[in-house]
């Protein structure tokens, strides 16, 4: 009898969680953003039910500020997996007056995204949304349960969380409530990349080195896009970069890199001096930025 490797253990745990989700909920969805964590989730969801099909449709909350590369990847990947894709647009929430556009140089649609998600949950009567959040990402996330109960407003109340013991996941909720499910809770960023390498998962090309025009700001490189305002004093350069996470074009920083494959990413990560969230403008706004957004219904 041989032992399971660290990655195999994480995989077995995530698959256990996905199967519990299928068994305990009526209308679960898998939150798909086209980023590496959601690609892993989708892959695990396919594995968990083989040779049957995964019961989870994908839900993408499209902020309208996505990289075109991510959207193209999303459509390619979804077709390849034979999955059903549901898209809800932040643009629509703004148009309907449900959410108000931020102003400024790097207008973020993070808060607005929560509105669209909560509306989609009500509209589609979803009782579980599976997300790729990991506890190692951020301090507030470190307190998150695997089955995390949200009220009708999508709010997270950290002090009232249910104790989660052994592997006994309590998915019972009242009508109108929903559960956010985090199968990758115990994965680190390094585990994610090692798993991507082991399973040879496809990725958007944004994760690899490419030429791109960026604004240099506070030592970070922000991609030029139709959504950021370029001022005359801005230091704009075209340079070779890659992205460590793929969020919105307005809040995801690039960094100089010539890495073209997953091996290179793993080497770079091992030597890397900053965390993943350090390249996200949305998380740097304040110390409790993530906690506040989660309370409002963000993932």
């Amino acid at each position: 009898m041989s032992l399971l490797s660290h990655l195999e253990r994480l995989e077995a745990e995530a698959i256990f969680i996905l199967r519990e989700t299928a068994a305990q909920f009526e209308r679960p969805v898998l939150m798909f953003s086209g980023g590496k964590d959601s690609i892993i989730l989708a892959h695990l969801a396919a594995k968990a039910f083989r040779p049957a099909l995964s019961p989870f449709p994908y839900l993408h909350i499209d902020t309208g500020h996505n990289f075109p590369e991510t959207l193209a990847f999303r459509d390619r990947f979804t077709a390849q997996m034979g999955a059903k894709l549901i898209v809800r647009l932040v643009e629509d929430s703004i148009r309907l007056g449900r959410a108000v556009e931020e102003k400024g140089k790097f207008p973020s649609r993070n808060r607005q995204q929560a509105v669209t998600l909560v509306d989609a949950i009500a509209e589609l009567k979803l009782d579980a949304c599976i997300g790729g959040g990991r506890r190692d990402e951020e301090k507030a996330r470190a307190k998150e349960r695997i089955f995390s109960v949200r009220d009708e407003f999508g709010g997270w109340e950290p002090r009232l969380q249910r104790p989660e013991l052994w592997n006994l996941l309590n998915g019972r909720i009242h009508v109108g409530e929903n559960v956010r499910v985090f199968p990758l809770s115990n994965w680190t960023e390094l585990d994610v990349w090692q798993y991507i390498r082991a399973e040879r998962l496809p990725l958007p090309e944004l994760y690899f080195a490419h030429q791109r025009a960026c604004i240099v700001r506070d030592g970070l490189l922000f991609p030029i896009s139709p959504f950021v305002r370029i001022d005359p004093e801005d230091d704009v350069r075209r340079t070779q970069v890659r992205f460590r996470t793929v969020g919105d074009m307005t809040c995801t920083a690039a960094f100089p890199s010539d890495v073209r494959d997953v091996d290179g990413i793993i080497d770079e990560l091992r030597a890397s001096p900053v965390t993943e969230r350090g390249s996200r403008l949305d998380d740097q706004r304040s110390e409790a930025a993530m906690e506040d957004r989660k309370r409002e219904g963000y993932f």
């Binding site: 470190a142 006994l168 115990n186 110390e287």
Partner: protein
Amino acid sequence: MELLRFITCGSVDDGKSTLIGRLLYDSKTLLHDQVAALEQSSAKGGNGLNLALLTDGLRAEREQGITIDVAYKYFATPRRKFIIADTPGHVQYTRNMVTGASTADLAVLLVDAAQGVQEQTRRHAYLASLLRIPHVVLAVNKMDAVDWSQDVYHRIRDEFLALTRASGFSEVHAIPVSALLGDNVVEASTRTPYYDGPPLLRYLEDLEVDRPSDPERGRLPVQLVLRPSDPALQDYRAYAGQVTSGAFRPGDAVVVLPSNIHTTIAGIDRYGEPVTEAFAPMSVAIRLRDDVDVGRGEVIASAKRPLRVGQELRARLCWMAERPLVPRARLLLRHATAASPAIVTAIESVVDVHSFTDQPAPAQLALNEIGKVRIKTARTLAFDTYAEERGTGAFVLVDEASNGTVAAGLIIAEEPAT
């Protein structure tokens, strides 16, 4: 690389959060922006680097300077991967300690050298033994505050060892440390010549974690049935679940409990690919030779070592809700993948928080109290005792009105009639 899950516990202000911060900081697991954020928020307090801020992630925790909820931290050295659960010391958060302990291989119990062993220390040692965490490290912290006194260290160590002699830990290892200054955390200290063991991190890296699972006692609680819609696979039917203990192979004689169906394993598939063996903690799907009707909540078990079956349980219960548990309470019991309405028919005893002995016949179990109870379930369950197997010996109770998880239960054996 092997994985070690551990929990830090002890009384409030003994330095748990600081110790974890020190482990992360000195093992160079912290990244530039985390250090920058730490320095920035420490500066607000004005007392140098505050390592505790690394784990106290909630706004209320930073404002009140205490740990409210379990925080999980991840770090790796070239030798091992670690998952730490930092748990609160306050009495009112004991349920969080139990939560963190339920999946831990080891507990690091802190004692403030200047304060000595406290009621919370004894309580946490008791809980660690109750939840059968096999290994305990006693970290006698704040040695700087007692002038690195050998006497103080030995007195606390000996008191603790005497206290836990009967606790069933396979090993208790004591280390004198200063989380604040870093002595014996990652680097060995020159100020504790009377201690010749390794620093904490080295001890954690080298410890052999024995997971005593009997290979003969195979258990797979069925999560769901896989039945593909593809017409080419219309005869395919497999029972998906995670092996909680032991091992299975094709050809093994098994029994499905509680329905008591005897059959043989036709094949085992792991994510759609056939495998020759499944062992804990693999997630697989088992195909059975006979065309039987098996559903979620049943357990596939080695025929040689079946589980107990019944509608009456005896258990240790840790009560986790504000509203006390009273006899005849109706709740929902979740055990492995099964769920059943249940009635707590009797509260036999409650643990006295000072003497850690069982006091008979309490009127109720209050928040954070632990007692022995009897439970009757509406459905028949298949179970082991917690001492035999964590996976099939543990359960939780859910309040059907609030849906909250209100108790952690450990199944115990019937005492032989005297």
